[in-house]
């Protein structure tokens, strides 16, 4: 019997060719980790090309999971276990394997062709692996997979494809997992294709029993259940959480959800998710382009719906004019931007948080609107509700920022009690106002079309403050600009005040972030605090306007550091609005910030 070692937290990375089914086993391993009750965070990292050149570094697809019995903030930096299914995967990832870490490679992925494609030349890197530094396991995974599925009546290519299940089996054995849910998953997926189903199950089991019978591994590892707050959990990606947030908002507002979008990485999964709910009245439109999607959503707002459009950076460029129309007409429109690395097409599958300035200023004229940013996959749910709540309480378009990292990454989510979802709706207070009258927050009523006696015309031309008719009067124009601005600024008092995530106002330094860097900053600040440094962590989810107490809190610190995955955008807003000499720490490498360097 091999010994069983208990670990508090582990980072596992599986890497191989993009055709190897890495994301699929990543998802399965995540599911089983979730079942064990660990806290976790995942980071799928794959090329933009659907079939990038096989065997090359460009074609490497990776899936990283960080799980533990302790609080897990990020998908982790360096890994404890690296599985490399070919030479290119090893070349890219070996540097992130911790000293003493477990390295499992498919030796079949290291023939001369693979070595050449990976850029190793003729020398096989496996010959020079530092076996004192790593626990190295070279397994002929492809060969063994083929042998294990020999009996199945499927073509050789299909047999070869089962190697991801073999490696998943090995990992399940290594972490003392149970194979049942993956077998159930395979049944559901391949139920109609008996041969493929049989082969996948056989390969999974073969991998598992390989661990059990060969005893080549020194130990098995157990990661105990994490003490998450009590409640019912599910594992969720950011894109799923946004989808559910929209459905919840639709229920809360008692307005049908109308979601118009154009497929774009990394936002498309929100469309895929929502399209499943047609039968309960969710309307999704795959529009002909980004502008059509935005304007259809605007049309739906006038139709009395929760109108939402969703995209990534390039689509935001195209939607700018429509958003500007929504600002001018003062209507509740929700715009979701799942950011990715730019400019232009940039790196579609890599993350970045560089659209903040665009969200703030990326439209012609004076065109302010509220901006919300989600900070983690599960927080996307709350952030979405917040965006919808602001849109309908202030009758204004709202931009919700997510990004590629939290869109595809996952973590356990405490499923909210439906009775406790809190969403204010102040529209009834404006029921007696005329179409162009305003309440004390300068908010005009929301009047969908089709109500008898309320017929009105509206558009993008400047409106007279009193009558709402077309006005080219200079004084009136300025008044309208200030009015729209005052309305947006009033959101500062509507939303939750800024709170300090870690530490207090008595600390010397504040590390301030927004969006998906939440986990990395939290982990880094936690470590610094444990080492005795006087550092606090503050994280913005409401970026415009800032919560009313922001200035007071920020000014209590001697030093403010703002790490961002951009060239310093939040830092500009802080400097501009509060005249604070905040220091920017910028990193734009298409990957989530890692706390080694921050």
């Amino acid at each position: 019997m091999v010994e069983s070692i208990i670990k508090k937290e582990v980072v596992v990375k599986i890497a191989g060719d993009s055709g190897d089914g890495i994301q699929l086993i990543g998802g399965q391993f995540t599911g089983s980790t979730y079942e064990v009750g660990n806290d976790l965070a995942t980071f799928p990292d794959f090329p933009a090309e659907i079939r990038a050149p096989q065997g090359t570094q460009a074609g490497v697809s990776g899936f990283q999971i960080h799980f533990g019995s302790v609080e897990i903030e990020t998908a982790g930096d360096d890994c404890d276990v690296l599985v490399a299914l070919n030479a290119a995967a090893l070349k890219i990832n070996l540097k992130s394997l911790k000293p003493g870490g477990i390295l499992i490679v498919d030796t079949n992925g290291f023939d001369s062709k693979n070595l050449k494609l990976a850029g190793y030349g003729t020398e096989n890197p496996l010959d020079s692996i530092d076996r004192a530094n790593y626990q190295f396991y070279g397994i002929a995974i492809s060969d063994q997979t083929k042998r294990s599925v020999e009996q199945c009546a499927i073509d050789p290519k299909e047999k070869d494809r089962c190697k991801n299940m073999y490696i998943l089996g090995v990992l399940y054995w290594l972490y003392e997992r149970n194979m049942d849910s993956t077998i159930a998953f395979l049944n559901a997926k391949f139920g109609k294709q008996a041969g493929i189903l049989e082969a996948n199950v056989l390969a999974l089991k073969a991998g598992y029993y390989f661990g059990e019978t060969t005893e080549i591994f020194k130990a098995r590892y157990e990661v105990k259940e994490a003490h998450l707050a009590k409640g019912d959990y599910r594992n969720i990606t950011g894109n799923q959480a946004i989808s559910l947030g929209l459905i919840a908002a639709s229920h809360q507002l008692q307005k049908p959800l109308f979601f118009a979008t154009y497929p774009i990485t990394p936002a498309s999964d929100i469309l895929h998710e929502l399209a499943k709910y047609k039968e309960i009245g969710v309307e999704t439109v795959q529009a002909e382009d980004e502008i059509a999607a935005a304007t259809m959503a605007i049309g739906a707002v006038f139709g009395g719906n929760l109108g939402v459009t969703c995209t990534s950076g390039p689509g935001m460029d195209l939607k700018a004019e429509s958003i500007s129309l929504a600002v001018s007409m003062e209507i509740p429109l929700v715009v979701i931007d799942v950011q990715r690395a730019g400019p232009s097409t940039g790196m579609p599958t890599k993350t970045e948080q560089a659209d903040l300035m665009m969200a703030m200023y990326g439209r012609h004229g004076e065109c302010p609107l509220p901006i919300i940013a989600a900070k983690s996959p599960s927080n996307c749910f709350e952030a979405t509700l917040k965006a919808c709540e602001i849109a309908f309480n202030f009758n204004t378009p709202v931009i919700l920022l997510s990004d590629g990292y939290i869109a595809n990454g996952s973590e356990p989510w405490l499923i909210p009690n439906v009775d406790e979802i809190d969403m204010r709706d102040t529209e009834s207070k404006r029921a007696n106002l005329k179409t162009f009258e305003r309440d004390e927050n300068m908010v005009r009523p929301y009047i969908p079309f089709g109500i008898a006696g309320k017929e009105y015309r509206i558009g993008g031309l400047e409106k007279d403050f009193v009558t709402g008719g077309i006005s080219y009067d200079a004084q009136n124009h300025e008044k309208m600009i200030l009015t729209r601005e005052a309305k947006v600024n009033a959101v500062a008092n509507f939303c939750n005040p800024l709170s300090i995530e870690l530490g207090s106002e008595n600390d010397e330094i504040a590390v301030i972030g927004w969006g998906s860097t939440y986990g990395s900053i939290r982990a880094a600040v936690k470590k610094l605090r444990e080492e005795g440094h006087s550092v606090a962590h503050i994280h913005f989810t409401q970026l415009h306007p800032f919560p009313a107490n922001t200035e007071k809190i920020l000014k209590s610190f001697k030093k403010i550091i703002v790490p961002e995955m951009n060239r310093g955008q939040l830092v500009k807003l802080i400097r501009e609005q509060f005249l604070i000499d905040a220091i920017s720490y910028s990193k734009v490498q298409g990957y989530p910030s890692n706390n080694r360097k921050s």
Partner: protein
């Protein structure tokens, strides 16, 4: 209701004598005739002279952004199917900057009424040639003559899968009104191209079709089930893609083709008469093509219930 009920309090800012006035008047007449309560009408426009239209009608209206009336109206109609949604657009708005949405609206067949004001010029930006201006048009932006081949919106619509196409002209009040009634009747996207005179920047562009001297020989007004007759005892026959002018006196009226609004192949030729390879033939007005086709819409909606939400949130 009378036409007057649809007059808004806004002062009309088109140039006096603009063809748009005639259309506005007929639309007001037609709205009053239809059995639809006023609050169920919505007019959506883009940008351009004609796009001011919604301001002058006492219904719900949106004056949106350039080229996007079609897509905005799509969202409005899909989200509130009870509304009768009309799109007001022009040759620049609908065919140039909004060309993409135009095509996709036709193929989807959303239940919208589209009035395309074609004046073959950019009026609001003061006189540049447009996508429907004939080749060699002298304009502010083409002082030596335009080198862009014009597009035929009805042909594009047909190719995109339009389920209803018709053409009329601002000066023929009765015909315009009849076409608007037909448009209102159709289930699906109904496209009505309206030749509209911009007497400031492109005066007389359609005189050929309205001038007493030339009108008879240069136009043919189609009616479903009736022979295609025009001018002085002339008719049209289309056989195997070949178009021929019939001399009724010599050949007899029975040689003229009977107009069938369901015949797409013939419609394909009809929309091109009077231009290009078919310049020798009269321009076609009337309802050219109509079919009953599935309308792009969503199942009737109810709000998401608490138990539905609970199920969705807890599904693992």
């Amino acid at each position: 209701m009378t036409a007057k009920d649809f007059v808004s309090d806004q002062e009309i800012r088109w140039c006096p004598g603009c063809g748009d006035f005639a259309v506005l008047k007929q639309v007001q007449n037609v709205l009053a005739k239809l059995n639809i309560p006023k609050h169920q009408y919505a007019f959506v426009s883009g940008i351009g002279c004609s796009s001011r239209f919604p301001y002058y009608l006492d219904t719900y209206g949106i004056h949106s952004i350039h080229g996007r009336a079609t897509s905005l109206a799509t969202g409005l109609k899909l989200s509130n199917p009870a509304l009768s949604v009309w799109v007001i657009t022009g040759d620049g708005d609908g065919l140039s900057i909004g060309g993409n949405h135009f095509i996709h609206l036709m193929r989807r067949n959303v239940d919208l009424k589209v009035l395309l004001f074609n004046n073959q010029v950019y009026g609001l930006t003061k006189g540049q040639y447009s996508p429907t201006s004939p080749l060699h048009t002298i304009s502010k932006s083409s002082p030596l003559g335009s080198i862009d081949n014009p597009m035929n919106p009805l042909l594009v619509a047909l190719a995109s899968g339009a389920s209803f196409i018709a053409r009329t002209i601002d000066r023929e009040a009765k015909h315009l009104q009849q076409m608007l009634l037909d448009v209102a009747d159709h289930k699906g996207t109904a496209l009505l191209e309206i030749y509209q005179n911009c007497h400031i920047f492109n005066d007389g562009a359609f005189d050929l079709y309205t001038d007493k001297q030339t009108k008879q020989e240069s136009t043919i007004y189609l009616e479903d089930g009736k022979p295609m007759i025009f001018g002085l005892n002339k008719g049209i026959d289309i056989d195997n893609q070949v178009v021929r002018i019939i001399d009724i006196e010599k050949e007899g009226a029975d040689k003229c083709l009977i107009h069938d609004i369901k015949n797409k192949e013939i419609a394909n030729i009809l929309v091109r008469l009077g231009e290009g390879e078919f310049s020798d033939f009269p321009k076609v007005f009337g309802l050219i093509y109509a079919e009953k086709r599935e309308v792009y819409s969503f199942p009737e909606k109810t709000n998401i219930t608490k138990s539905e939400l609970k199920n969705i949130l807890t599904k693992k």
